[in-house]
């Protein structure tokens, strides 16, 4: 088998292993809970019998390994267990709570990515091309500040400007079932803008750094000495070699998006999975925390994996093996 195929298979195996290990970590979080949590979940009205029944439902009397396989088997079939919240009355399946929220989050993240990635890469290219110009310095200073700020400050500045001073949008992004696509777009405008600002700052800086690193190579000087135009040098000589780093930057930022969404959803009271996870952590609703953590971690791992594979597949040294 050639080097390219072998490297990609290795990465896939490594990614799969990471997901398995993450699932073990997430699963064991239940193991470390204090012994009396069953009664605290069920509340004061719980009788010893209901507590015992609850413990049995969780399978706490079985060995941990067996329970792990039972749990992961359920997860693979979309069964994420039952929520602890409102336990004493009617148990709600976790998937029923999490899935609609997940779509909302994907909607938010998808629109942000569609806007932020092209803008960031273009700005990064321009800043690299006009390095040390006034434009570059301006972009540099503003992105440095954006990165150093807490996300909630960016969010509230956006709210202050576009919802309070000039009330173009609502400060709260509530979604309701009957909304049309355009109405939904209007509802997520501010969170999308906030997330985009943060992500663009990260991505643009890294794109710029990757391009500048490549521009220092002797083959770029050679292209200049062959009389190539600056734009052609960037697109034909620098970009193919910076592709690997840039793809990594994009994946890193998308993964960042997945996490940054948590704070932003809370600020805008957006019914997404990040908001759900924060509530679950506060209420110690462990099955929901587990489900959210698993989804976040798996997304993060898969995005990084895709970036890795694209970076490998575009590496000329691996593509054209000796």
């Amino acid at each position: 088998m050639n080097a390219l195929g072998r490297t990609i298979l290795q990465r896939l195996a490594l990614g799969l292993m990471s997901i398995v290990i993450v699932s073990v970590v997430v699963f064991s979080s239940l193991e470390f809970l204090p012994g009396d949590f069953a009664s605290s979940v069920l509340g004061r009205s719980a009788t010893p019998e209901t507590v015992a029944a609850f413990r049995q439902e969780l399978g706490l009397d079985l060995p941990a390994v067996q329970r792990y396989f039972h749990w992961i088997g359920g997860v693979l079939q979309g069964d994420l267990g039952n929520s602890f919240a409102g336990r004493a009355f009617t148990p709600r399946p976790v998937s029923e709570i999490v899935m609609p929220r997940l779509w909302n989050t994907l909607f938010l993240a998808g629109i942000t990515a569609a806007i932020a990635i092209p803008v960031a890469v273009l700005l990064g290219l321009l800043a690299a091309l006009y390095r040390n110009s006034r434009f570059d310095r301006l972009v540099n200073a503003s992105t440095l500040s954006t990165i150093a700020m807490p996300e909630f400050l960016v969010a509230y500045m956006v709210i202050l400007a576009l919802a309070v001073k000039f009330p173009l949008f609502y400060a709260m992004s509530t979604l309701s079932p009957g909304m049309s696509f355009t109405e939904r777009l209007g509802a997520v405008a501010l969170p999308v803008l906030t997330l985009s600002l943060v992500i663009i700052a990260h991505m643009m800086r890294m794109t710029r750094a990757a391009i500048i690193g490549v521009l220092a190579s002797p083959y770029i000087e050679m292209a200049r000495l062959k009389g190539m135009a600056p734009w052609r040098i960037i697109t034909r000589h620098a970009l193919p070699n910076a592709l690997g780093p840039i793809v990594n930057v994009i994946a890193f930022s998308l993964a960042y998006l997945v996490v940054g969404v948590v704070v932003i959803e809370v600020v805008f009271v957006y019914p997404g999975i990040g908001q759900t996870m924060v509530d679950a952590v506060r209420n110690r609703d462990i099955p929901v925390v587990q489900a959210c953590a698993l989804i976040f971690a798996a997304t993060y791992i898969v995005l990084n994996l895709i970036a890795d594979i694209i970076a490998i597949a575009t590496n000329p040294r691996l593509l054209h093996a000796r």
Partner: protein
Amino acid sequence: MQTDNAHLLDIRDLRVEGESDGQWSTLVDGVSLTLRRGEVLGLVGESGAGKSTLGLAALGYVRPGCRITGGQVIFDGRDLLSLPEDQRRPLRGHRISYVAQSAAASFNPAHSLMNQTIETAVQRHLMPATEARNAATQQFRRLSLPHPDSIGKRYPHQVSGGQLQRIMTAMAMHCGPDLIVFDEPTTALDVTTQVEVLASIREAVEARGTAAIYITHDLAVVAQMAHRIMVLRHGKLVEEGETQAMLDAPQQDYTRSLWAVREVQKTTLQAAEKPLLTIQGLNFSYGKAGPKALEGIDLTVPRGRTLAVVGESGSGKSTLGRVIAGLNVADSGQVTFDGQVLPRRIGQRDKDLMRRIQLVHQSADTALNPRHTVRELIARPLETFHRLRGSERERRVQELLEMIELGPRYADRLPSELSGGQKQRVNIARGLAAGPDLMICDEVTSALDQLVQEGILRMLLNLQAELQISYFFITHDISTVRAIADGIVVMHHGRIVEAGPRQDVLSPPHHPYTELLLGSAPQMRTDWLTDLLASRAASASAP
């Protein structure tokens, strides 16, 4: 092409400055030069002479971090420096082209060699792509590249360094330029490869009557290539003249001193009675299944003498040095040092053995910790091996500084505050401080300018006479071997092909590889390359 008798290139009073750490310093200081059509001008000088900066200025180009502060670069009647960029750019690659020192780094890894070769012609619409490809293949053939029809489909990392350098020449000649700047095109190559590349470059330039600026630090090389030579130093012109005249009768002291290198010749010593180091049947490979890097090595290093190990890159000479030092562990075979079997790993050797065998690395830049002063560097072996402290240690540091011909005032400097030659002396002093019986010198002079090399070789010889140290001297350079060796071992592909006392190895009859190696070392006469190619052609056609 207004007038035929005008110069093709006329550089007048050029000044270039470079910035480092916020300070501007002069790189080229008022140099003027002229070049006629079809003429090859050699630019010679040591590192820091401003040769490359001047060569690039011929294309109206300065590196980032440099600026032109005065002068004119008139190419074919137009001043490149006052032309707007969009009129200057089309000249590059078409009328003036450039061949860089490191072809491996100067080709874009993402594109095939053919696409890079024809890029200027196709982008500038000088010829259609098919025609450009055919012309490139022709060039590849003329530069005697193997598989000229298909080599263009390959990518840079799939082709050897010598071949890449020739493809870069083909790329430079592709649009039929009036002028090519060659910037040390063979410096990174082994001598046997260098001969082939020099021969193809010279032939290609002569065939098309292209003018060229040939930049090099190697006088013997420039003597083969150039009609006229300019000697530069510290960004200033020292001397200029026709090649033959410059070789025969240089006017300036500096030029004479450059010409007079390699005077050092060791007086022949009796082969010493007792061997210090003996190697028998040594094999080594990287990894368990790796190819053999060393195979069946047998040799002895006599006490107080120098054994020079010569070979090209990949011959295994440095690996052998590292096996003796205990950094690489041999698969089989025995190394005996002063009558006792040497433990294979450095970790198995006692402190006294560590002391008695010292390794001096090629590059003082990476071998000396940049954060330690000269004193700290030299004092550490005195502490670890001789337990010297306080004033006693300080006295010894001063002695060692005297031995390497640096004064006590250097003790407080950091390596970055020393020149290349001084750093290498400190590197050697650190080895000496241990008080070794055997010093493994791994290409210790290779990265230095000729004159600096000369000084260090002289110093090493004096130290040997004084301290009776044995040198295991690893080098690729025949003239260094002449200067320092008592015995010579010639290595090729991990094996010893010839060994013996210096006179025996250096005088015929030779082993065929030794013959090739010795013949390929350029000599300081203008017809060396012509003679060599003629004699090789003759012996190839002979039965």
